[in-house]
């Protein structure tokens, strides 16, 4: 009986952790489009001249991106109005996208 409880508990814990970690990871594909939309909208509003984001994913390492989002540095950069409108999930997705294509990632990317 004890064994069954331990196994069940283990399964529940694994599922919970995986859910938490997947939420923390975010959806990088969605993040890419949300990130582009931030700058497109910002450009349409006239704050920036180009719809190309100022910071490309490969502008920082993965650790630097983690710090950038932990310290909410994006609120100190361009397009604060758009960043403020984003949900927690949107921010998580953008974080996942930028970190996933950081300079020290297997697939560094540049915004075009």
């Amino acid at each position: 009986m004890k064994k069954t409880i331990i196994i069940l508990l283990g399964i529940i814990l694994t599922i919970s952790f995986s859910m938490i970690s997947s939420a923390e990871e975010g959806n990088e594909r969605k993040g890419k489009y949300t990130y582009r939309k931030v700058y497109q909208s910002c450009k349409d509003r006239g704050e920036v001249e180009s719809a190309t984001p100022t910071l490309s994913p490969d502008a920082k390492t993965q650790a630097q991106w983690d710090r950038y989002f932990e310290e909410k540095k994006y609120l100190e950069a361009d397009c604060k109005e758009e960043w403020n409108k984003l949900s927690e999930e949107d921010i998580l997705n953008i974080h996942a996208y930028l970190k996933g294509h950081a300079a020290d990632s297997p697939t560094p990317a540049k915004c075009k």
């Binding site: 594909r29 969605k30 890419k32 489009y33 075009k112």
Partner: protein, 521 residues
């Protein structure tokens, strides 16, 4: 006398009429509205209103109307990447190499194949949109993301999938003749980056000023590439491996069905004002020699690349440094390189064809190896003095077989990942199907590129004294040619001066004698 006057008047009127007609022929579509040649609105075609999730599906839709296009296109060099020259197979799909990224390993280097005109290199259908869509789309990314979001199924994903399909639809239906941007998406980035390979082709020509190129300038002729590179059945003239880019030097005035590839096609062989001395040059000097005083006037171009210096590490890791023009001048994965702007061309006799080496040709490593060089000489009636960009390289060769080597660069086994020459050379030569002894070293090389774009307005053409001058003549190396101003014969000059002084002395003597002889009375 009356007859003579009439003939003179008639020839003047005829000349003026011909020049207007010729100007009309050449400038007919230069006003920037290329779309007027389109006879269909692609957004109205039902076959293009379906959902597309792969590139091949799009091409099948195109071919449902343009039924013969793929069979025509599959025969062109844009598809095969091969130019046959006797037993030699030149081209990126053949055995050719250069001294930039050296080789595409017969299209097995995936990095190079990005520029192939198929959706997936030579596999599958032709990507018609690469040249004909007026919208720029990253197709691989778009299709992958579209399929992903469609499968995800949540509201946000559905909205993103619809947005991506909208972009695909816009690109599929906004169809026209190729623009400078279409052609330039590959040709401006030859050698792996903006302006790397060609000194006269880079992204600055997407929206050029007429001072950069009088023909393509948006405030000048606003020519698209195909105004000169006008082909038949998707064969676009202009490629030079061994065959000439053009065979016909006649102008459209002489025959309006000929290709428009040369300057003479529109400007004729006597393009300058009547009796202008410059018209006497056109049988020996190419128009480009005077009308392209320098190249890489906006963006810098790569002038040298030393592969032997690659592989250095900093703190155990590959690194890169930047130099003038904010361009990389050292990369561990590529070696050392130099960039230049406003480069004066080098000049050679050129009959329109090039001699190029392949992985199978034996070289002499004790000299600088000319990987590609122009053909022509003073006695060849088709040869003209022509401007070139000469790119200097240091590249690997086989110590035993004395052949140039083609390393595999990209991918997990490529040099850019492993920094292991031995392995990269073996992999590359295996793809090339040419034996490699396993022993290699580096050899100096040159690669010549004809300079034919970035033509300046006529007021900015070279002055006569750039060449006809005693010192620092642009044509100083053309020893076989007598050029007034640059060359002289001491004996003839001495004789000339004797005649001048003699005549002067004679006048003086004559005047003095007359003065004193009293004949004036």
């Amino acid at each position: 006398m009356k007859n003579k006057t009439f003939i003179m008047l008639f020839s003047t009127v005829l000349g003026a009429w011909l020049s207007v007609w010729q100007s009309d022929l050449c400038h007919a579509a230069q006003m920037g509205n290329e779309k007027r040649q389109t006879t269909t609105d692609h957004s109205k075609h039902k076959v293009l209103q379906q959902e597309f999730s792969t590139g091949d599906d799009i091409t099948k839709a195109c071919l449902s109307c343009h039924t013969e296009t793929d069979s025509q296109f599959h025969k062109t060099i844009h598809w095969t990447w091969i130019a046959e020259e006797g037993e030699k197979q030149l081209g990126k799909g053949g055995d050719s190499l250069n001294n930039y990224c050296i080789s595409s390993n017969k299209m097995n280097d995936k990095g190079c194949s990005k520029c192939h005109t198929g959706w997936n290199a030579k596999e599958g259908e032709v990507n018609c949109l690469l040249c004909h869509s007026q919208k720029e789309v990253n197709w691989d990314e778009t299709f992958e993301d579209f399929r992903f979001f469609k499968e995800e199924g949540d509201d946000e994903s559905k909205a993103l999938a619809a947005e991506l399909q909208g972009n695909i639809h816009k690109a599929v239906t906004d169809i026209g003749l190729p623009t400078r941007k279409n052609c330039g998406s590959c040709h401006f980035f030859g050698g792996g980056g903006d302006g790397v390979k060609h000194g006269d082709l880079d992204s600055s020509l997407t929206h050029p000023d007429k001072m950069l190129d009088v023909h393509m300038g948006t405030n000048g002729g606003n020519f698209t590439c195909f105004r000169c590179h006008s082909g038949k059945l998707h064969n676009i003239p202009g490629r030079i491996y061994s065959q000439k880019a053009y065979e016909d030097r006649r102008s459209l005035v002489e025959d309006d069905t000929i290709s428009k590839i040369t300057c003479e096609s529109c400007h004729t062989a006597t393009p300058h004002k009547e009796n202008a001395k410059m018209n006497d040059h056109t049988d020996k000097v190419a128009c480009q020699a005077c009308h392209i005083p320098d190249f890489a006037r906006v963006n810098p171009t790569k002038m040298s690349w030393d592969w032997s210096k690659s592989g250095r590490l900093k703190d155990g890791k590959p690194y890169k440094t930047k130099g003038p023009y904010d361009k990389e001048n050292y990369l561990s994965i590529k070696g050392e390189m130099k960039w230049e702007k406003n480069v004066k061309p080098e000049y050679f006799w050129f009959n329109g064809s090039m001699s190029s080496l392949t992985t199978k040709d034996v070289i002499d490593p004790s000299t600088t190896v000319a990987v590609s060089q122009p053909n022509g000489n003073i006695n060849d009636p088709d040869s003209r003095i022509f401007p070139f960009k000469i790119h200097h390289g240091v590249q690997p060769y086989d110590l035993e077989y004395k052949t140039l080597l083609a390393p595999l660069l990209s991918g997990k086994d490529g040099y850019w990942t492993t920094l292991d020459w031995q392995n990269a050379l073996q992999k590359g030569m295996d793809f090339s199907g040419v034996p490699f002894s396993g022993k290699f070293d580096f050899v100096k090389s040159t690669f010549a590129y004809p300079t034919t774009h970035m033509v300046m307005p006529k007021a900015n053409a070279l002055a006569c004294t750039e060449c006809h001058v005693r010192t620092n003549s642009r044509l100083a190396s053309f020893g076989e040619l007598y050029m007034p101003g640059r060359d002289y014969y001491k004996e003839i000059d001495f004789g000339g001066w004797i005649l001048v002084f003699g005549a002067f002395a004679g006048i003086l003597l004559h005047g003095t004698l007359r003065f004193f002889s009293g004949k004036r009375k």
